[in-house]
């Protein structure tokens, strides 16, 4: 009795190796394929295969003017739509030499941090599913609704806000926004404390994530990962501190990092960042001056020929736009550098030698979003 035909491999030195294709239709992959070779329960090789949801965002930008580009640019990452739009607006403002009112800068920071929380709750929920923890999926997804309602009140849309525009934000905050935001953020903080006790202190969660997929600081720098993944390896690098944009240099917040570099650290650093986001939003609500929120622009805003490179710290890491203008209202070239794509090199590096059961724990802790990576 031999192996079934589909599992037979050639008689070779690698006769023990079984190839498993995780995705693109697999509960644990998203729109993404990962070819995993296992020897027993140990992964001997992993080959990420992105590109299933490539939309040509960069080319699409070249056929639209700067304002028309706003809605479609947030489609690759609707869970963090403000984060992915932020550097585009900054870059256009630099090219067209547009100044942004101070109130608009504060509102941008509020919405960016709110979206960071929304994104990280979404991420945490899916991490729960990946670890087989159904409550860890339901709770963040339910609490995310409160923050989405808040964003909805401010922007008029639940997830795809299209709220940031070159020259400020689309509209001012509603009247009672401050009271409502503070009330909901207090509740959210209370919930985060509960998460800490119930999810992050669960011994089985610790068993599954601690010491799994350890990425050393040197490897993290060499592989070029960014964001919480980099900070979980002990490198305190945050664009909000290194290269502050808008009003981040006037706000007080901490950059959290951990030295372990394992899946637990990569899951815990974003969690700590949500506390910081609450702090930042509250400071902004206090400091925010009154005034206009959008600089009046002419039709088809354009700037002189030139280039601009702007980056921000999105929920997943460093998100950068390289914009080249040839003097026309449409960009000559737009290059997106998305954090998800930067995490791919770390994936085969960490998966090699890991156990098959650790694959989801490592894969999702890397903060890899297939749709964003493919752009």
């Amino acid at each position: 009795m031999g192996l079934p035909p589909s599992m037979q491999v050639e008689e070779s030195e690698e006769g023990r190796i079984l190839t498993i294709s995780v995705g693109p239709q697999h509960p644990g992959s998203g729109h993404f394929r990962l070819v995993v070779k296992v020897d027993g329960d140990i992964i001997v090789g992993a080959d990420p295969d992105p590109g299933y949801v490539h939309r040509g965002e960069e080319k699409m930008c070249e056929y639209r003017n700067y304002i028309q580009n706003i809605p479609h640019l947030e489609r690759p990452m609707i869970a963090d739509s403000c984060g992915i739009l932020y550097p585009f607006c900054l870059a256009v403002e630099e090219i067209a030499n547009i100044s942004v009112p101070e109130r608009a800068q504060y509102i941008r920071v509020i919405m960016a941090e709110l979206n960071r929380c929304i994104f990280e709750l979404y991420w945490l929920g899916i991490y729960g599913i990946f670890l087989g923890h159904s409550t860890m999926f339901m709770w963040p997804m339910g609490d995310r609704e409160l923050l989405i309602d808040l964003a909805d009140a401010a922007t008029g849309a639940r997830v795809t806000h299209a709220y940031f525009v070159p020259g400020g934000v689309r509209n001012d905050l509603p009247e009672n926004f401050k009271e409502r935001a503070i009330r909901q953020l207090d509740y959210f903080k209370h919930r985060l404390d509960q998460y800490k006790d119930i999810f992050y202190a669960n011994p089985l969660f610790l068993d599954r994530t601690q010491g799994v997929g350890v990425l050393t600081a040197q490897d993290a720098i060499n592989l070029g990962v960014t964001g919480p993944v980099l900070r979980a390896s002990g490198v305190k690098h945050d664009i909000r501190k290194v290269e502050p944009y808008d009003v981040y240099d006037q706000l007080y917040f901490e950059v959290h990092s951990m030295n372990e570099g394992d899946s637990y650290a990569r899951a815990y650093v974003p969690f700590l960042e949500m506390y910081e986001s609450i702090k930042i939003i509250k400071q902004c609500l206090e400091k925010m001056p009154s005034g206009p929120v959008r600089t009046k622009l002419g039709p088809n805003p354009r700037g002189p020929a030139g280039e601009s490179f702007k980056r921000v710290e999105a929920g997943r890491g460093e998100l950068a736009y390289y914009l080249v203008s040839d003097g026309t209202p449409k960009p000559y070239r737009v290059k997106l550098s998305v954090p998800s794509f930067r995490q791919i090199p770390a994936m085969p590096h960490l998966l090699k030698g890991a156990k098959l059961a650790d694959m989801p724990a490592i894969y999702w802790s890397l903060n890899y979003w297939p749709v964003e990576a493919d752009r």
């Binding site: 035909p5 589909s6 498993i20 509960p27 644990g28 990946f130 670890l131 087989g132 339901m138």
Partner: protein, 424 residues
Amino acid sequence: MATVTQFSFADFVKSLLWLTFWILVIFTLVLLPIIFIVLFYVPAPEIEGIEITPYLLLTMMVNPEIGAPLIRATFETSFFKVAVFPGFTFAALFATAIIFIERKFLAKMQIRVGPYYAGREVFWWARSLEGLLQMIADLLKLLGKEVIIPSGADKPIFWAAPVVLVVAASGLLSVIPAAPGWVIADIDVGLLVIFAILGFFPLTALLASWASNSKYPFIGGLRALHQMISYEIPLILSVLGVVILSGTLNMSKIVGAQEPYWYILLLPIGAFVFFITALAELERVPFDLPEAESEIVAGWLTEYSGMAYGLIQLASYIKLYALAAIFVTLFLGGWMGPPVAGDLYLFGYNILPAEEGNGIFWFVVKTLGISVLMLLPRGINPRIRIDILLRTGWAKLIAVTFINIFIALALLYLGVAHPGVIGA
């Protein structure tokens, strides 16, 4: 040209009426005479000195009082015990109830509503049921689905596995005593039978996974095999303490030996280990790694669909009921409890003595409690990894069960307890 037949409700009702008419005609003209001819030749059984004749059966339709002894006699037949209570029908209904409780319970833990809408808009009486009809809807959905067999699958084994699982899970019911006398097979090797039947499950899971001819089921099947063989040893060892104290393998006598102290008070470690290993045996969270969704799709169930999948689920929930009932029998004093029920009389005839009704009540209540306790970890735990699972099973749990056995022996030799009589 294709003809389109339109559905008409009036035609449907008409066809039903015609169907009823013909069934009645055939029943009176053909079936009734056949029954009477057969009854004429078959010797009639005797109940309480009364011979059951066709004439008596007919008079019972008019005067039901004569039927009460017959109902009691039915309770005592093997057929009733196997088919209804405490056998398959009861277990299947209990399993359905567990599924419903699990879904509502988990929903409450996760701040959701759970099944709620099934039948709500159609039947006025379904409004107060909070989605209980969802169970029926799911069953109909599974029945209506096609059973897809993957190409290259080993068809006989692929088909046989769900049936074997249901049969094996139902086999566990045969030795569980629900009340004094309410047991299908009151045999002296009851516990051995349970462990023999539990040995079927990993084998069937492996066969099913192999027959699926696919990689995810194959990995899932191997995981199921690893998990079950490494947890069956602590499972058996944890029960050894009970056997030492009671001195018997007969389930009914084990319950009898727990007068006045339940074994969970004397052997808490054994009960704990049994509970953990039962969860592993059932592949429930946190031990659901043979069905780990994020890695291997649905484990060894991946290629199953339609009612074949439904049968596997039914088997796993019947198994949950059976293991909860075994836990109750071994550690929680089985049917014993303070008296709550009186004699049950029907037309002046005692069809269910107080002792038995009381036993059934306490058995069902305790089993339901333990079942809910088995569902609880699903809401609070992630899945554990296979190597942690194996290390826990082989190193920690087996060591702990030996402590449990030493405690049982100490109780025995110190004279605190000896076989059959505790506290004497």
